[in-house]
């Protein structure tokens, strides 16, 4: 083809030589400025991440700029959510193509709410890292990878295309690989290998499920899938297989029993600030993806046997997570098991599958993001303060660190579901929903969950803060490392650059700068406020659950007037 012909083609005036009119596949409705809010939570952190790499020589300015940009992302997400609450779901299809040809970004109440939470978590972590992450790690790209992780997570929450969901999964997984090896110590690499391998297996299963879905239906747009899948009977073997593959892949991401082992094996190895980011967001993306696929994408699966599977897995996750938490002596590993138990609660809401139980799941997801971020950051503060990580050795801190004691009390019992804190309401709602459905096993599991979580948190608090000093109090003492860590040193992992990375400074015990307390206090205050004044979030969760059960508004937003 000659270049004149190319130019003629590109002008797109009149029909193409093959007799195709390109305008048939293009939207002609103008896009308002406010619709551009949809891509802001994704594009802003993405741009900030690459600017951060270009500004590597100025780590101080990069980190400040990142905090400013993430604050902007929070504002954009909040504006987006308020608009969705006012007007219902909104959508924008990239590149002017009509759906299902183009990739749509769709915001419904659930996606908007989680995007806001993801952005807020990013901001909290970025502020905490200002005083916690050393310049070596910043030069290795900590802030850039943080931005890409937020971009990937927000993209996953906003996309309306199931293959695009896979792409965003890969974006934040790759960013998380970078974050988990920052520092390059032996223990970190050990955790990172487990984390990477199992996460790659999970995304591969997800990809296989997407391929099967595309091969069966020939479309990947969620709204389009929703309409096409509604025609299938609930127990169609093909759809059962695909649905099960989705659940295995996403369940692995969300750390549901029996595929949860990677989480406690890896979440205590990176920097506490990285752990907090992962615990708050990455499991929730798995939960969100399960919710999305099992409601909007596969609406007819409601009656299928898959919900029995989810129900059983959820109950096993609740119980085994708590048993693990009771048995753990490492603080951050214990928090990991608490998180897993929470994942069970969220999945149970989907397993019960009524509007009330889905609302409880959404509420619990919000609570879990806030509280887990706070708890892991708090664990980081305690490690900085004492240099210790083991519950056997942490002791007598009530006198030494009363502020940390209060914060752990609030956040821990919020996670356990003690009224009047944030974890109480979703559990009550879920118990009510289970009673309405006569699911007595679920009720029992939830009550056991409440009781055992109290024991876990109470035990940890009593050991760390309440009991008299076992060693010499807040004076550091080197813990005997695991035999694996005593082995010969290994070469450091290659950082992003060819420049050699200086060894990471050991956390020197001592008083924490007050700036580090601010993010944790914010999360604790949020847990308290949500607990005392749950109505707005309850209403929002209810609206989001309603939209999940009835995809028509979602589909309408994507396709507009053209079906």
């Amino acid at each position: 083809m000659r270049s004149e012909d190319l130019i003629q083609l590109a002008a797109a005036k009149g029909p193409l030589p093959e007799g195709i009119d390109r305008a048939d596949a293009m939207t002609q409705t103008p896009v308002g400025l406010s619709d551009w809010l949809i891509i802001m939570p994704v594009i802003l952190p993405l741009l900030m991440g690459v600017i951060g790499i270009m500004m590597r020589a100025y780590p101080r300015w990069t980190s400040r700029l990142t905090v400013a940009v993430l604050a902007g992302v929070v504002l954009a997400s909040a504006a987006l959510l308020s608009r969705v609450i006012a007007e219902g779901p909104i959508a924008m299809t990239m590149g002017q193509w009509l759906p299902p040809f183009g990739i749509s970004l769709v915001v419904d109440p659930l996606g908007g709410l989680l995007t806001l939470l993801g952005s807020i978590t990013g901001l909290i972590v970025a502020v905490y890292a200002l005083s916690d992450v050393d310049f070596a790690a910043r030069r290795a790209g900590f802030y850039s990878m943080l931005c890409w992780l937020i971009a990937g997570v927000n993209g996953a929450f906003l996309t309306g295309d199931i293959f695009n969901l896979y792409v965003w999964f890969e974006v934040f997984v790759i960013a998380s690989f970078g974050l988990i090896v920052l520092g390059g110590e032996r223990l970190q690499l050990d955790g990172a290998v487990k984390y990477c391998v199992l996460n790659l297996i999970a995304t591969t299963l997800f990809l296989i499920a997407v391929a099967l879905l595309y091969g069966t239906l020939g479309t990947l747009n969620m709204a389009d899938l929703s309409g096409k899948l509604a025609a299938y009977p609930p127990d169609d073997p093909q759809m059962l297989t695909i649905g099960l593959l989705f659940f295995v892949g996403f369940g692995m991401k969300a750390a549901a029993v029996p595929l949860h082992i990677w989480l406690p094996a890896s979440y205590h190895t990176p920097k506490p600030v990285v752990s907090a980011l992962f615990a708050a967001l990455l499991t929730k993306v798995g939960i969100y993806a399960v919710l999305r696929t099992y409601t909007i994408v596969m609406p007819a699966s409601n009656e299928s046997v898959l919900f029995e599977v989810i129900y059983v897995v959820a109950i096993a996750t609740i119980v085994l997570g708590l048993l693990g938490a009771l048995a753990e002596s490492n603080l951050r590993r214990m928090l990991g098991f608490l998180l897993i138990s929470g994942v069970g609660v969220m999945l149970l809401g989907l397993g019960v599958d009524t509007r009330l139980s889905l609302a409880a799941t959404i509420f619990y997801t919000v609570h879990s993001v806030i509280v887990m971020a706070g708890l892991y950051l708090l664990a980081g503060l305690m490690e900085r303060r004492t240099g210790l990580t083991s519950l056997h050795r942490l002791s007598g801190m009530y006198t030494g660190a009363p502020v940390l004691a209060v914060l752990f009390f609030v956040l821990g019992f919020a996670a356990a579901g003690l009224p009047p804190l944030s974890g109480f309401w979703p559990k009550v709602l879920l118990i009510e929903a289970s009673l309405n459905e006569q699911q007595y096993v679920a009720v029992a599991a939830l009550i056991v969950n409440g009781l055992f979580s109290m024991m876990v948190v109470g035990r940890a608090w009593a050991l760390m803060f309440w009991r008299p000093v076992v060693t010499a109090g807040i004076i550091p003492q080197a813990e005997t490392p695991h035999p694996r860590e005593q082995a010969a040193p290994v070469p450091k992992a290659a950082a992003l650059s060819a420049a050699p990375t200086p060894p990471k400074a050991e956390p020197t015990p001592g008083h924490n700068p007050p700036a580090l307390l601010v993010p944790v206090v914010v999360t604790a205050a949020a847990a308290l406020i949500i607990g005392v004044w749950p109505t707005p979030l309850l209403d929002l969760s209810d609206i989001a659950a309603g939209d999940l059960l009835d995809p028509s508004a979602y589909v309408q937003a994507v396709f507009g007037s053209a079906p």
């Binding site: 083809m1 190319l6 130019i7 083609l9 590109a10 002008a11 797109a12 939207t27 103008p30 896009v31 308002g32 400025l33 619709d35 551009w36 891509i39 594009i43 993405l46 741009l47 991440g49 690459v50 600017i51 951060g52 790499i53 270009m54 590597r56 924008m92 299809t93 990239m94 590149g95 002017q96 183009g102 850039s144 290659a494 992003l496 650059s497 060819a498």
Partner: protein, 139 residues
């Protein structure tokens, strides 16, 4: 690897490969080619230059850090979606502009081209960073 023949030949070969990669990049809109494959070709040229004349020379020739080049490419690719905002069209809509250069010569400039240049820079930077790191470890 550092024979005289190879050392003499490598700079010319690298220059040729970079030129060819730019040709492939510009050709790639409707025909085989494009930013990704073009970037790989250019990066191979720099890798050959590094094998022959040492990694330091490549770093000096590039002036910017490879990863910064890569980041600039991603920045360019992401920004290429923004002009559609001014036209009230969705993100990443292709916009075209045909300046006349007189004498019946038309240029076809477009946001997809900007996107492709961004991809090209991104691939060039990332692959060179990997190649140079590997070559440094060998030496």
């Amino acid at each position: 690897m550092g024979t005289l023949i190879f050392r003499t030949f490598a700079p010319g070969l690298a220059a040729l490969m970079v030129m060819f990669s730019i040709f492939v990049l510009l050709r790639g809109h409707n025909e085989p080619g494009g930013g990704f494959i073009g970037g790989l070709i250019a990066a191979s040229g720099f890798a050959i230059y590094g094998i022959a004349n040492g990694v330091e020379n490549v770093r000096r020739a590039l002036y910017f850090r490879p990863l910064a080049i890569s980041a600039a490419g991603v920045l360019l690719a992401a920004l290429s979606g923004i002009p559609a905002l001014l036209q009230g069209k969705p993100f990443l809509t292709g916009l075209w502009w045909f300046p006349e250069l007189g004498g019946d010569v038309k240029l076809a400039l477009s946001t997809p081209l900007v996107f492709d240049i961004g991809v090209w820079l991104g691939v060039v930077g990332a692959v060179i960073a990997i190649a140079l790191a590997l070559e440094e470890r060998e030496g």
